[in-house]
């Protein structure tokens, strides 16, 4: 018995070491730094909750409820959560279902999936070209000026009112392929008898879709939705590459703020506070996902 125990411990030992060194210690250290100025990435001066109160009361680029609609990284992230998640999952589902019934399914799915094969940095640069205010470079403005010659090109990434939507569209372009592939696989796994039975009973395609397909896809939809939500909460690369949070901080999101305050503005304590907030926001979704995986395992 004790030997069996020992063997068990020996097996988990490497994993425990790795998780402690790369997960638990950094988390504790980040929480510790968030109560400090963190100058030079060391605990240099304890400041209590100052970083947190400053984030929510003084940092207009993080949290600004003085105007309507509220602005700042927190609210930009909320816009991302809504539009990005709905866009990726929604379009992914539509493409998966439609492609399922046509001859060129593989071709269509390949095209939609290709962005996933590009590094996010490259994808960001591609979209920066697409949005370029110079109509000789930017295809969007080329189309706009081509169709309506009297208009001026629109600086898509330079206007505070458009920039977030422009970034989200680029994000959707990258991630839709992922959602589509997962949903498509789930779709193919649905038992055909149920759908055939529904058709035999006189249901039309629309009814089959809403009353049969969607309910049966629900577990998969839930998993990719939470995955996309986590994706947004930790998103950083697109904003960093395409706008660096600009113009004037209008496209900052939480993940980007963490990086920028820590490394560009040299306030590791402040950045750590953002990281802790990110962790707290993400935790429920991670737990939901783990629970789902667990119940999945028990079911099989």
């Amino acid at each position: 018995m004790s030997r069996k125990n020992l063997l068990g411990w020996a097996f988990v030992f490497p994993a425990v070491i790795l998780i402690t060194a790369f997960l638990i210690y950094p988390t504790i250290r980040t929480i510790q730094l968030s109560f400090d100025t963190g100058l030079g990435f060391t605990t240099s001066e304890y400041v209590g909750l100052d970083n947190y109160t400053n984030l929510f009361t003084r940092d207009r680029l993080f949290f600004d409820i003085d105007q309507f609609p509220p602005r700042g990284a927190v609210f930009n992230t909320i816009v991302w959560l809504g539009l990005f998640t709905a866009g990726t999952v929604g379009i992914g589902l539509v493409v998966a279902v439609l492609a399922n019934s046509v001859r060129y399914e593989v071709l269509i799915k390949t095209i939609i999936f290709i962005p996933m094969a590009i590094s996010f940095t490259a994808a960001g640069i591609i979209w920066r070209f697409v949005y370029s205010p110079d109509e000789k470079t930017g295809i969007l403005n080329a189309i706009l000026v081509g169709l309506i010659p009297s208009t001026d090109p629109i600086p898509w990434l330079g206007r505070t009112d458009i920039v977030n939507v422009a970034l989200i569209i680029a994000g959707i372009w990258i991630w839709t392929g992922f959602c589509m592939v997962i949903l498509s696989a789930a779709l193919k796994g649905l038992p055909p008898e149920v759908i055939e039975a529904a058709h035999v009973d006189g249901a039309n395609s629309w009814q089959v879709f809403w009353s049969i397909t969607i309910p049966m896809l629900l577990p998969t939809l839930a998993v990719i939705t939470t995955t996309m939500v986590i994706n947004v909460l930790k998103a950083f690369d697109i904003v960093y590459i395409m706008t660096a949070g600009g113009p004037r901080g209008a496209s900052r999101i939480i993940g980007f703020t963490m990086y920028w305050e820590t490394f560009q503005n040299g306030k590791p304590g402040y950045g750590s506070a953002v990281a802790v907030i990110m962790l707290l926001l993400m935790l429920p979704f991670v737990i939901i996902n783990i629970r789902r995986y667990r119940t999945g395992e028990q079911g099989t």
Binding site: L39, G40, F41, T42, N54, T57, R58, D59, R60, L61, P133, D152, P155, G158, R248, G249, Y259, F263, Q264, G266
Partner: protein, 433 residues
């Protein structure tokens, strides 16, 4: 058998490849690592000068180029392995690093030699430029390249027709504005949808009325509040330009606030021009040239220095640039610093076939520049004082508020007081955090 021979031959070649560089490294070659944000032709320009340094001294310069220099520098400093030298684009970061003890003093506070002799700085740079690298009395940096944002662009033909010369005082500028109005023409075009064009206007006015010291107290340290009478006075001067917008500005209020900085310049220089004068930095020269290839610089479009308000405050230049900072005190690093400050090194950089820069070194002959760059270079090297763009010295949230406040000012120039109160509220919150 042949295969084995081949394998041995390959192994032999690889071993040789590994040994040869090691032998070379032991051969007393000195290296200096150099970090910069430059890429593309900018980097070629810098290399053009540094290659000559290597040819003369045998010291190899290893350039690490990264657009996100400051974050990487911070990480390297925290990890204890900074580069030997770096070109830092923000004076605030230089001061922060100096106070944190990361930087090697180039010249001590008492004027004695730090890494280099005081003469290396004083022989090559005007006091105004040398001051930019000074933190708490100690010289920690040298302005390696710079650009002016104090250039007013105009059409010489239009001035000739009106019978005026480029102004040398604010009042002369207002007289030219009045002459255009009397002639039924619109004097100005401003690209106010890019709010930084408005903040640049304000910065130039403010530093001319109050001098560099107070300028820094307003923008960098916020010791001067935005409700200060000096700010009100500067906005009232700006009001002389923009109010009434219907007659003074092309497009009126709405046109100004929906026009970007390039379109605004085009409005002055295109054939059926809608305005006569345009203010923005020296970089506009290149943009105007490429938008209007048929125009000859100097003859068809030219620039004068943003005119001063009074003789004692003069005309400080507002601009941007990169400061050379040093992280290790080896003799070969000192040699590199001396080269970067030297007239020879700067002239080479200013005349590079690609990526030539405007050098703040006062001994670089203005004749080496293209006519457009010479305008910029003359303003930088001859500046009575040089200050960095104020909006870049502010915390981002305050900087954003500054731009928005000036857009509101264009729309409602009568509301100076309430606009400034709002800006002060934003600024007070962001400087202290």
């Amino acid at each position: 058998m042949h295969k084995r021979m081949l394998l041995i031959a390959i192994l032999f070649v690889f071993t040789l490849l590994a040994i040869v560089p090691m032998a070379a490294a032991q051969d007393d070659v000195q290296f200096v690592s150099f970090m910069t944000t430059f890429g593309g032709s900018e980097l070629e320009g810098l290399r053009h000068s540094l290659d000559e340094f290597t040819a003369q001294t045998g010291i190899q310069v290893i350039i690490e180029s990264n657009r996100q220099l400051v974050p990487i520098l911070r990480t390297r400093l925290a990890g204890g392995s900074p580069p030997d030298v770096a070109l830092i684009p923000q004076p605030g970061t230089l001061a922060e690093f100096a106070r944190a003890g990361y930087l090697i003093p180039l010249v001590n506070a008492d004027g004695s030699a730090g890494l280099v002799d005081a003469a290396v700085v004083s022989d090559n740079y005007s006091p105004a430029i040398a001051d930019l690298g000074v933190v708490d009395g100690v010289t920690y940096g040298i302005l390696a390249k710079a650009n002016s944002k104090s250039t007013m662009w105009y059409s010489p033909a239009s001035f000739a027709e009106l019978g005026v010369e480029p102004p040398t005082t604010w009042d002369e500028l207002l007289a030219i504005q009045q002459a255009y109005l009397d002639a039924g023409l619109t004097p100005w075009s401003i690209g106010g949808s890019d709010s930084w064009t408005l903040t640049d206007w304000f910065e130039n006015i403010y530093v001319r009325q109050n001098g560099p010291e107070k300028y820094l107290q307003l923008f960098a340290t916020h010791e001067v509040a935005w409700t200060d009478p000096s700010v009100v006075a500067a906005l009232e001067a700006f009001q002389q330009i923009v109010d009434p917008a219907d007659t003074n500005l092309a497009g009126g209020v709405e046109g100004t606030l929906s026009t970007d900085f390039i379109t605004a310049a085009n409005m002055v220089f295109r054939p059926d021009n809608e305005a006569e004068m345009y203010y923005e930095g020296g970089f506009m020269g290149g943009i105007i040239s490429s938008n209007f290839p048929e125009l000859t610089p100097i003859d068809d479009f030219n620039a004068f220095l943003f005119p001063p308000f009074s003789e004692d405050m003069g005309a400080p230049v507002v601009g941007g640039g990169d400061l050379l900072a040093v992280f290790s005190d080896r003799p070969e690093v000192a040699q590199l610093v001396e080269w970067m400050a030297s007239t020879e090194g700067n002239t080479l950089w200013a005349t590079a076939p690609a990526g030539a820069v405007v050098s703040p070194n006062m001994n670089v002959d203005l004749g080496v520049y293209s006519p457009l760059a010479a305008i910029d270079a003359g303003q930088v090297a001859g500046a009575s004082a040089f200050v960095f763009d104020g909006s870049d010295l502010m915390p981002p949230a305050a900087s954003e508020g500054f731009g928005i406040a000036l857009q509101e000012f264009i729309a409602n120039p009568g509301d100076i007081e309430s606009i400034l109160q709002d800006l002060e509220d934003t600024a007070a919150a962001s400087y202290s955090s």
